[in-house]
């Protein structure tokens, strides 16, 4: 089933988190369509390794567009359990479907309550419209 932005939580730095099964405590993380549009043509993405720990608000990877390098910040804290390695060779899919085929990493959350600090879709849309 396709994920829609209404199901996600967002950072003000344009990353999103999605939790399909709260009992498993695993968050899928990506970047928003707004961010992809701002970044324009993507040419490279650097991802963490499986097993690496990430911290909410801290950098977990970098993405290079034609003329800029931008960090990506984790919405939650925890341990990386899966990376979307195929995405690195097909960054165009981020522009097509950033909320499904464009997922970037999955994190086993150490503190799921951090999700409460994130923006819902309506609040995020409002931020982007400023």
């Amino acid at each position: 089933m396709s994920i829609t932005p209404e199901q996600l939580r967002f950072c003000d730095s344009h990353e999103w988190a999605y939790v399909s099964d709260k009992s498993a405590g695993i968050a899928t993380i990506g970047i928003s369509a707004f961010a992809v549009e701002e970044l324009t043509d993507l040419v490279f993405m650097a991802l963490p390794k499986v097993g690496q720990t990430v911290t909410a608000g801290s950098e977990f990877g970098e993405v290079e567009s034609v003329k800029a390098v931008s960090p990506m910040y984790s919405p939650v804290s925890g341990t990386v359990v899966e990376i979307h390695s195929a995405l690195v060779d097909n960054l165009e899919s981020l522009g097509v479907d950033p909320y499904n085929d464009g997922w970037i990493i999955k994190v086993k959350m150490s503190d799921p309550s951090e999700l409460n600090q994130l923006l819902d879709w309506e609040a995020y849309k409002k931020q982007c419209s400023h």
Binding site: L42, A46, E64, V69
Partner: protein, 294 residues
């Protein structure tokens, strides 16, 4: 991605510092720029730093692989350093380099547009070079390869083309690249004045004087704000014994041109009250160790 100050939303002028630095090693140059970015705060001025390199040096883009320089044996003997910004590798020799650091300001909108500053600076160089008689234009083409492309992009920046790169004739003479961070934005740029010995095929501005009209040059030289440049001064090229600081009133005419064009370019994105400053004054306020390195 970290929210970036929205350059369009700045209603009032912000303070800016122009630092004309001495020539340094690649390691030192990049360490200084990184310190300026990492330590930027909302209260920090915009810092425009102009500099050269104390020996011909290869800087490679943030994501480039250093082993890829083996594809061009001429580059193997050069000292090298990695930039925090993206883009292709640059041989820093007969060129001028700039970095501009724009701090994030909490009171501003959380979205930004990196194209504004990039385009503004390149358009300013275009305008000023045209006034002096050079046939400058924007590339309006792109050799960039997204991951769907099969062929890797050229290793050297000046062999690549993106739409806002500045050309004279067919030759690229100015390229820039950016990095965003939690503290702000840095943009690096390189203005190629003459070809490097290592890469003679990459012509600089002064190698391209066929399209240069000295008469028009002299007539128009006073039309550029802040510039007092004579024909003779231009012909000299860069001062080979670069020893400068921001307080010098007898700057190399190319530095004057460079600073005036950069200020004009930034002014297309936001209002800045510029002052001249010294790097040592800035670094005294930073908890870093780059001040004494060279």
């Amino acid at each position: 991605m970290q929210p970036l100050v929205n350059l369009f939303d700045l209603k009032t002028a912000v303070p800016g510092l122009v630092v004309i630095d001495s020539a340094r090693s690649g390691e030192s140059n990049m360490a200084i720029d990184e310190a300026l970015l990492q330590n930027a705060t909302p209260q920090w001025p915009i810092v425009l730093r102009i500099y050269r390199w104390d020996r011909p040096t290869l800087s490679i883009g943030h994501f480039q692989r250093i082993q890829d320089r083996q594809g061009d044996p001429r580059l193997s003997d050069l000292p090298w350093v990695r930039r925090k910004t993206g883009g292709g590798a640059i041989v820093h020799d007969q060129e001028l380099t700039y970095s501009i650091v724009i701090p994030n300001r909490n009171s501003q909108s959380t979205k930004g547009h990196n194209e504004t500053l990039y385009r503004g600076i390149h358009l300013a160089f275009l305008e000023n070079l045209r006034k002096l008689g050079w046939s400058a234009c924007l590339s309006e083409s792109c050799t960039c390869k997204t991951t769907a492309g099969k062929e890797p992009e050229a290793f050297l920046c000046f062999l690549r083309r993106s739409p806002v790169d500045l050309l004279v004739g067919r030759d690229k003479i100015l390229g820039s690249a950016q990095r965003r961070s939690v503290t702000g934005l840095i943009q690096h740029g390189s203005f190629l004045l003459r070809h490097a010995q290592t890469t003679p095929e990459l012509l600089g501005l002064l190698d391209l004087e066929n399209g240069f009209d000295p008469k028009q040059h002299v007539e128009n030289s006073s039309s550029i704000s802040g510039l007092k440049i004579t024909k003779n001064e231009f012909e000299g090229g860069l001062d080979p014994n670069w020893k400068t600081d921001s307080q010098s009133t007898q700057m190399d005419p190319w530095i004057s041109f460079f600073v005036a064009s950069l200020k004009l370019g930034v002014s297309k994105a936001l209002q800045v009250n510029w002052q001249n400053g010294k790097l040592s004054d800035l670094l005294e306020n930073l908890d870093c160790v780059v001040a004494g390195r060279n």
